[in-house]
Symmetry: C2
Subunit: 338 residues, 2 copies
DNA sequence: CAAGAATGCGCAAGAACTTTCAGAACACGA
DNA sequence: TCGTGTTCTGAAAGTTCTTGCGCATTCTTG
């Protein structure tokens, strides 16, 4: 980095004047100040907006922003961080672990004082954890949302997916559905395993084997999964995301069936357009606001007080939002008509 | 701030060791390092994640993240910034100018080297500009997207809304629509005025007065506007956003009419769910990717080379995506049937 | 127009921080 | 047990940055 003496020579002033300018001290003529600033920039010296200092910055990492749940996460986290006086760095598209590592490094590099990761590779079962350790060992509090990993000095906050699926299954059973299909993404992923657990408990509960389709959380994934689950006799389909549910609608229609008359569909997330779809989607609302608040508090509060970011593990229960995509099972409806 | 010598005494080591620890130099025992770090924190010395330095950070300000266009903007801008090695700060909810100013200050405070504002208060006609000048006079390049203001030393990049509306009107005229309604938000806003201009040119073109409804860019706004425009004889409704179009669908249905048989609807933005709505929405696709690329290049490139962030003004043409919500006008369809 | 005040800048002292170098402490193999 | 090598640390010298002070220049006022 250019030294004061270099800048001084470049600007044709003394070292002292450069020092005063760079530290925002008074007693320097505006013209001289500009000359010095220009020289400093020419020599590649980082001229930070002085007199304003250095506010806290927190990194937020999400998988993408196309899925509206994740923009909702960013929106809530930014709101909470803003309240506490911090600024929000975002990172997107951490598709590979390598990429995720690069983004985390970028956060550290940008001076983040805490990092919050939503649905990152920590949700993956066999994921390496070294890149998270690089963060924690730098003394930066790490908060991981929707996923749990042993042996990591971080805080974990998750939606209670098992409970969510229980809520959904209870709702569908009350409507007379006996064969309920589950459409989810990668099996080795924390939220999927949680959902699966509740699902298998229900299977064991006496309704016989309940079909499960593993595709991915996209529209196309929902389409495929729905068609497969229909073939396996499902009269209701529980999707791992609202986008999947939209795809499921289309898959069901492609078989000449109608939602909810012939098949019920349940989404997950409760994104903006869920209530605008036809029929309006019954879905599970993630407790984004409360988790976001807790995440920010953990990220910023824990770091100062106890120095130890308290390896906490909190699970928050979501809420079932019943709209128009679930109805009585066809057979049940028939028996009711009788 | 505590000096090295103070920390050294507190930790019971030499000044040299403290210097090494604080600069992340190697050759210090892990135990000693921790002792020093603890002592430094006790004395209130900011222990930044050193050894990583200070990468460039760019601020991105959007009005909200509920509307998916804005998450798309953030997504693209983040992608472009990441490519060039910069990190992305986001600011949301700049509802008032005061708030916008606060967010911009926050960006400066966090060390942003450039700032990009999408659809901010610069789109407002009578908006004060002082808070933008605070940015530019700090030597920080400012890029303002979708809005133009005279007398500001910033770069302006916008979607060609006038052209967009021309495209839409041509499409609708070809389908036989003679009375086309425009549903937009605040009249004093740059994108609205641009759209209005093309609309009024069409009005003057011989089809007589074309109705315009000023509500807001929300779902409710679209609902209200659609009902008003139907009352005024419109057979096609051009909306200022896809969310408005979704509201318009509902408004049209509330009158017992059907899209597109009775009324055609055109949206604006081409958000993710536009193709999933029923019927799939004909809409205008904003050139988000190309503008985002140009914005980042202007923000980061212009600052170094010429020192002057080149008060540019670029307008990019959008694209009409024809789907299922536009069809021949009722009268024209009737005459075709004959 | 001159005296005094205010402002702006460089010199040089010295404060703050970094780095070199050598020695202490420890580990390990002969 | 004795070398030999490695790791870690502090003393001191070196580098970089800050600041008190005084001089020069410009502005202000009677």
């Amino acid at each position: 980095m250019a030294r004061l003496i270099d800048i001084a020579r470049e600007a044709g002033v003394s070292e002292a004047t450069v020092s005063r300018v760079l530290n925002g001290r008074s007693g320097v003529n505006e013209v001289t100040r500009t000359t010095v600033l220009d020289a400093a920039r020419r020599l590649g010296r980082v001229v930070e907006p002085v007199a304003v200092g250095h506010g806290p910055v927190v990194g937020v990492l999400v998988p993408d922003l196309d899925n509206q749940v994740f923009s909702a996460w960013v929106e809530r986290l930014e709101a909470e961080l803003f309240e506490t006086g911090a600024s929000t760095l975002v990172g997107v598209r951490a598709r590979t672990v390598e990429r995720e590592r690069e983004i985390l490094q970028r956060f550290l590099h940008a001076g983040a004082v805490a990092i919050i990761v939503v649905s990152g590779h920590h949700a993956q079962q066999q994921s390496p954890l070294d890149h998270y350790r690089e963060v924690t060992s730098a003394g930066i509090p790490l908060v991981l949302v929707n996923g749990v990993q042993r042996g990591l000095d971080a805080a974990f906050l998750s939606t209670d997916d098992e409970h969510a699926v229980r809520l959904v299954l209870t709702h569908l059973h009350e409507l007379g559905h006996r064969t309920v299909g589950l459409a989810v993404g990668d099996e080795h992923t924390w939220p999927v395993r949680e959902k699966l657990r509740a699902f298998e408990a229900a299977t064991a509960g006496g309704d016989g084997p309940q079909p499960v389709a593993f595709t991915d959380f996209s529209y196309a994934g929902g389409y495929e999964a729905a068609r497969e689950l229909l073939d396996r006799g499902a009269t209701a389909i529980v999707c791992g995301s609202d986008v999947m549910a939209a795809g499921a609608y289309e898959g069901i229609r492609s078989r000449g069936l109608e939602v909810p008359r012939d098949v019920s569909v349940v989404g997950y997330d409760d994104v903006f357009w869920a209530s605008l779809s036809h029929p309006p989607l019954t879905t599970v609302r993630q407790p984004v606001a409360s988790i976001a608040r807790a995440a920010v508090r953990t990220a910023l509060g824990g770091g100062e007080d106890s120095r130890r970011p308290a390896r906490t593990e909190v699970v928050v229960r979501p809420q079932l939002v019943v709209r128009g995509s679930t109805a009585a099972a066809p057979s049940a409806a028939a028996s009711m008509e009788r």
